[in-house]
Amino acid sequence: MSKKTLTLMSKDKQLFNIEEHLAVQSVTIRNMVKEDGASSVIPLPRVDSETLALVIEYLNRQQAPEEDEDYVKKFVDERGEIPTLLELAQAALDLDIKKLMDAACMKVADLIKDFTLEEVREALRIENDRTPEEEKAIRDEFQWAF
């Protein structure tokens, strides 16, 4: 029996083939396949092609279970740039691939843990909604941490 192949479509309409038994590591895809087994192309309108290529590379890994933890860690380590990691984390969250999401978020946390407030806002694209006075008041509660 030949292995069934699924086609995933990225936000920018690029098509990626992946064997079904590998794709269903994503709980989201597993549920889609279960509900609508016949559909040939699965659209992923929030994942761009670069990120989807990474996700597929991860899903296609051929690792022994006992080496899997190390592999995931190395996989995200090699993509050490925050914007890439954030997209990967978001895709893994949307697709419900827990190990990949855990590892990507852990890596981001590790990279930003010593950042200044401004650096954190820039890296995660968060708008500062506080006045400098408000910021100081919060800082004063835990002087030692700054």
């Binding site: 930003i112 407030l117 835990f142």
Partner: protein, 230 residues
């Protein structure tokens, strides 16, 4: 190097990243934006974060010399690899200069230590106090135990489902073994609630529990009827 523009970063993913940050970073990042501060200060987030934090073992000891004795603390980080080499002296809350804890320390898995002891006032009188101390964020609060003459006291630290701590202060009257008084202190309300007197009781045990829908099968006589199948 190519920089990608991120059109969005959902709050869900921000939460997942924050959950994985150490306490020191979280305290700083409370100032990043309003949403982060409310999240980091919320009880569910604190309870969740407690599960990923490193375990510490704290030891309290007393050193005596000619001028008197001093209480000292040392922490060991139980990180498996370097334990017990990885140790440090925690920052002691200022109140500990005057506060002498009793020799019982109530340990808690939620990162709070509950110490009971006497605070020496400038006029040398002593006040019975309970100190709740979170060494990780270097904060503590002291609760004055209500005066109850000729009574023994027991202090229990409990937690609500949301992670909020509750200190139960239990009195037992020595004059009249038939009565006891139980009070509950909730730090976030900063208020001691009197639960009243339990008449006819001499010995106590207390614990907290959550409401549960778990049904235990039994027959009309209250015996267990479900057998374990192999």
């Amino acid at each position: 190097m190519k920089m990608k523009m991120l059109p969005w970063l959902e709050f869900d993913i921000q939460v997942e990243i924050l959950k994985r940050l150490p306490v020191k970073s979280l305290i700083q990042f409370r100032s990043v934006c309003k949403e982060w501060k409310s999240l980091i200060d919320s009880s569910p987030f604190i309870a969740d974060h407690n599960n990923v934090g490193q375990e510490h073992l704290m030891i309290r000891y007393e050193v005596e010399d000619k001028t008197g004795s001093e209480v000292k603390y040392v922490c060991f980080v139980d990180d498996y690899d370097s334990f017990p080499e990885n140790k440090f002296a925690p920052d002691i809350p200022p109140i500990f200069r005057l506060f002498r804890p009793f020799n019982t320390t109530i340990h808690s898995p939620c990162g709070l230590l509950c110490l009971e002891g006497l605070l020496r006032e400038p006029d040398n009188s002593e006040t019975h106090m309970v100190v709740l101390w979170n060494p990780s964020i270097r904060k503590s609060i002291a609760i004055v135990v209500p005066k109850n003459k000729n009574a023994s006291i027991e202090t229990i630290l409990g937690f609500k489902k949301t992670g909020e701590p509750v200190v139960k202060i239990e009195f037992e009257s020595l004059d009249d073994v038939d009565s006891a008084l139980i009070a509950v202190y909730e730090p976030h309300l900063d208020h001691i609630k009197d639960l009243g007197i339990c008449r006819g009781a001499a010995f106590f045990a207390m614990c907290s529990y959550n409401e549960s829908l778990l049904l235990l099968d039994h027959d009309d006589d209250g015996r267990i009827v479900r057998a374990v199948e192999n």
